[in-house]
């Protein structure tokens, strides 16, 4: 054998690529030889006399390669001379895999295998040595009268890599474990025992193989089979049995009954084997993946971008009544309605394979039936808004039809900012069901979405709250510490479900204490009617009268006659009610009646704005606004609201001082004039008394 210069250079290139591949796929290289990354070509020359056979020329084909051997030669110097010749590719046992008998004259050119012949063109590598080309031999037979032995020839052995091909096993013992949904590629020769794979199947799980194959040429068909064996190598079921010539044939057939191509594991979960076999002629190419039965699945789409090709459910980001993009709550329902609109939430039913994609529903299945189970029916739509105890979610359609994209869709109506339910779907005969918890609540099972929520105020996100799995009824707000009593009277679930504040739904922060104040003093000072209480280190919310329940309660809608029952740990937290007391008794500027909590409040805090205007210098007019009216009104609001959260009088000159002003001593003109020293701050002693429950 003589290498040509070209072949030598190619050989160097192949060697380099092989080294590179070895480095790149070092992990895989420990399991199986690397596959060359580029084609290789080898040339040999020889000559044969009458009835002579050449030495074997090595091919040593890898399972991931395919090969063709081309011959150019001459058997005579005379135009009429020729010789009978033969090219044969053999396996390691010397058995013929491909043969070409030809007549070579003054010059000839041919190959083995020939295109469109039964061995397949190019001759494919196989996993087993039975189908794998080992060498090629040339034979010369009888020369005719004009023939002039010896016949000379040049062989070009060209091998093409086919990455990922034939990575199965040659038997049960070395069958690799394959994952469902991952495609396998190969060729299988009739003389092989088959190509073997191992797959894990759960108890009761049904699997099938989905893919395609083709035979060798237009005249010969391969009988391709896939059988399932158990761990004792006992055949369980023939799941694929198909014929194909040169054109691809898909399996299972489009209209095949799943009963025939599906294997169901009726025993415990375990490993099973697949044997892929070719009958009669080579299965030139196959590709397949193992999948389980299409199963009915449910998806939620809250951002209108569901893609059946890569389906993804939004149930993990779903927060009822919140914009998924901003985290802000959606606007309140229109008057007379409980439907929280502005968010298109769709429930989507579809069959999926376990590799995730949406697949056609089984034959004869055209619709899915949907229902809501374990639906909450909280009073109203938020903790202080409404009283109706209708279901918190509604499905627009109870039956959906699978469309061209194989999905069935309907709208999920949201009727509560903290609703809960389970969506159930059923389709086709048998127990083909799917369920989906809304919202997704696997952390703590505490009625709160795993996604957490955004605490908001005045249309702004002020905190991102994560669900740490706290119990629904925990009330552990710790900031500010105040007198050391944690909590603000609004338990964890209620902070999430939210409270309506001046027609805006807000979810609150379970770590920061929230104070709710109703007042009929208008906000003409731009301080939300809170005066100096605006500086309290609490989250303050000024609410409308209609947003406060009986007895000044701020979370009156805690009742739930639906699934789950009332909010656990509910506390009858009160808002502070501040009303304009006009002139009042004429002795003071405001009245808080009780210091609290924990003392419950049955009377509104009164602020006597007319008397403040009268008492302030300089004219004692109750109608003419003057210099000290506003600061005194602000301090009075801060003072009385301070009483409302348990801050008692202070001997220091703070908002909570008893006698507000230094006394004007006419005999000591250096003393600060009355009214000029109105305090506008709380000191640490004030803040250390704060208590909200």
């Amino acid at each position: 054998m003589k290498r040509t210069g070209i072949t030598w250079r190619t050989g160097v290139a192949i060697a380099a690529c092989t080294i590179f591949s070895s480095l790149t796929f070092v992990t895989r290289a420990q399991q199986e030889p690397p596959c060359p990354s580029s084609p290789s070509s080898t040339q040999v020359q020889g000559s044969l006399g009458v009835n002579q056979q050449s030495e074997p020329y090595a091919i040593d084909l890898l399972p991931c390669e395919e090969v063709v051997v081309a011959l150019t030669g001459s058997a005579s110097n005379h135009p009429s001379g020729n010789a009978n010749m033969r090219l044969t590719i053999r396996n390691a046992a010397g058995q013929t895999l491909a043969v070409n008998n030809f007549l070579c004259g003054q010059s000839c050119s041919t190959s083995v295998p020939l295109p469109n012949t039964y061995p397949g063109y190019l001759l494919p590598g196989t996993r087993g040595v039975e189908g794998l080309a080992k060498d090629v031999i040339v034979n010369a037979g009888i020369f005719n009268w004009f023939g002039t032995p010896p016949a000379t020839y040049t062989l070009t052995i060209t091998k093409q890599p086919r990455q990922e091909y034939n990575r199965g096993g040659t038997g049960f013992d070395n069958a690799p474990l394959i994952q469902k949904g991952v495609k396998q590629y190969g060729s299988v020769h009739p003389s092989e025992p088959g190509q073997f794979y191992k797959v894990h199947v759960g108890a009761g799980e049904s699997i099938h193989a989905r893919g395609r194959f083709r035979g060798p040429d237009t005249l010969h068909s391969s009988n391709f089979t896939i059988r399932v064996y158990d761990s004792a190598f006992v055949e369980k079921k023939l799941i694929i049995n198909a014929l194909a010539a040169i054109d691809w044939v898909s399996f299972p057939a489009a209209n095949a009954n799943p009963l025939f191509y599906t294997f169901t594991n009726t025993g415990p979960e375990g490993d099973f084997y697949l044997k892929l076999k070719a009958g009669a002629y080579v299965a030139r190419d196959f590709e397949f993946y193992v999948t389980n039965d299409p199963k009915l699945s449910l998806f939620l789409d809250v951002d209108n971008n569901f893609n059946p090709s890569s389906p993804d459910s939004d149930d993990d980001i779903f927060v009822p009544g919140s914009d998924p993009a901003t985290g802000l709550s959606l606007p309140l329902p229109a008057a007379g309605s409980t439907l929280i609109d502005g968010q298109s939430v769709k429930v989507i039913a579809a069959y999926t394979a376990d590799h995730g994609s949406v697949v056609p529903p089984p034959p004869g299945v055209t619709q899915a039936f949907l229902l809501l189970d374990q639906v909450s029916r909280f009073a109203g739509i938020a903790m202080n808004y409404g009283a109706i105890t209708d279901p918190d979610f509604l499905l627009v359609d109870g039956v959906v039809t699978f469309g061209a994209d194989y999905t069935g869709r309907t709208i999920l109506e949201i009727h509560d900012y903290g609703g809960r339910a389970i969506v159930k779907a059923q389709a086709g005969p048998g127990p083909s069901v799917a369920t989906m918890n809304l919202p997704k609540d696997t952390v703590g099972n505490n009625w709160v979405p795993d996604a957490g929520w955004k605490a908001t105020a005045n249309g702004q996100v002020i905190e991102t709250v994560s669900d740490g799995g706290q119990a629904q009824g925990v009330d552990a707000d710790s900031a500010p510490a105040g007198n050391g009593t944690n909590g603000d009277g609004i338990v964890f679930f209620e902070e999430y479900r939210g409270i309506v504040v001046r027609n805006e739904h807000r979810r609150t922060d379970p770590a920061i204490k929230d104070l709710f104040v109703y007042s009929n003093l208008s906000d003409i000072l731009g301080d939300q009617g809170l005066g100096d209480a605006l500086s309290l280190p609490l989250t303050k919310h000024r609410i409308f009268l209609s947003e406060m329940g009986p007895g000044f309660t701020i979370t009156p809608s805690y009742v739930n006659p639906g699934y789950g029952g009332d909010v656990p740990g509910h506390f009858p937290q009160q808002a502070l009610k501040v009303i304009d007391g006009g002139w009042g008794p004429g002795t003071k500027y405001g009245e808080a009646w009780v210091l609290g909590p924990p003392a419950p409040r049955s009377l509104a805090i009164e602020v006597y704005d007319e008397f403040i205007m009268h008492a302030s210098p300089f004219t004692n007019s109750r109608t003419l606004p003057e210099e000290y009216d506003v600061p005194k009104l602000r301090q009075t609001l801060g003072h009385e609201i301070g009483h409302g959260i348990n801050i008692d009088h202070n001997t220091n000159v703070t908002i909570m001082v008893t006698s507000y002003f230094p006394v004007w001593d006419v005999n000591n003109p250096t003393t600060v004039l009355p009214w000029q020293g109105i305090p506008h701050h709380y000191d640490s002693a004030d803040l250390a008394q704060i208590r909200l429950r």
Partner: protein
């Protein structure tokens, strides 16, 4: 949490609350335009906002406020009157009395107050206010009443105004005993002082003292009148007498219904008045 983090968090909260979204908000507020609290009778009960004794007029203040950020709002009436005021028994929807809304209104803009009316343009933080009376209120039996006001106003931002509150709950009580009679006298005397009528105040206070000589609040009013007349000596004497009555728990009608905290605060208020007179 570090102190720095705490400060940042608190600042963030304050900013969040102090800087509402820039939206125009027209809101309705309802309050009493005349009220003198309770001294000799129990404070409001059963969820009522105010107590009125038979004989006290029911006068409400109806306000429409531009609570928004920086935009002007044009207002115009949708009916002949800017508000419809009705009185219903608490828990009932049946109107029992109608309110009469004043034709004239006040425009409040910061420290300015001037006559106003509809149509008008409200700038940020400006409000338009009307007073309304319910003459037939006094004919109703004692009980709890809801005084409800519905705005009949349209704005350029569309839709009806938001409602901060559209009603008050008033407890109407009959004058059945000495406490109610004395309270009504105190209210009348206080109203006279509020209205700047010192002579009438003094007369009403004396009438109160005649009926109930232990009234510290009658002496307080007498002191207020004297102080308004720059008669510090007389004022001091009256305040001291009032203070003594309270310290000695002599004003038994008051101490019967007041908390210690209220008594203490009233004494403080008297001391402040005395101190303010100088030496």
């Amino acid at each position: 949490m570090t102190s720095t983090t705490a400060v940042v968090t608190i600042l963030a909260l304050l900013i969040a609350q102090a800087a509402p979204a820039r939206r125009v908000k027209v809101r309705v507020f309802v309050s009493l335009s005349e009220y003198y609290g309770t001294i000799y009778v129990r404070p409001p009960s059963n969820g009522a906002d105010h107590v009125l004794l038979r004989g006290q007029p029911l006068s409400t203040r109806l306000s429409i406020v531009n609570d928004g950020e920086d935009q002007e709002v044009r207002l115009r009436p949708s009916q002949s009157a800017p508000f419809k005021v009705q009185v219903v028994a608490e828990g009932s929807a049946k109107p029992l009395a109608q309110g009469v809304v004043a034709q004239s209104a006040f425009l409040r803009a910061g420290s300015l107050q001037k006559p106003g009316g509809l149509p008008t343009t409200l700038k940020q933080r400006e409000s338009l206010q009307w007073d309304a009376t319910v003459p037939a209120f006094q004919q109703l039996p004692a009980g709890l009443y809801r005084v409800k006001a519905d705005a009949q106003v349209e704005s350029t931002i569309g839709g009806p105004p938001e409602v901060n509150n559209d009603h008050l709950v008033i407890e109407l009580r009959d004058v059945t005993g000495q406490a109610e009679r004395v309270e009504l006298m105190r209210v009348n005397a206080t109203r006279a002082f509020r209205n700047g009528n010192l002579t009438q105040t003094e007369a009403a206070a004396q009438q109160l003292l005649a009926a109930y000589p232990q009234s510290a609040f009658a002496y307080m009013l007498i002191g207020d009148v004297a102080k308004a007349r720059n008669d510090a000596s007389a004022a001091r004497a009256a305040y001291i007498r009032a203070s003594e009555l309270l310290r000695g728990r002599g004003d038994t009608l008051f101490t019967a219904v007041a908390t210690d905290h209220q008594i203490s605060e009233t004494i403080d208020a008297l001391e402040l008045r005395i101190s303010s007179l100088g030496r």
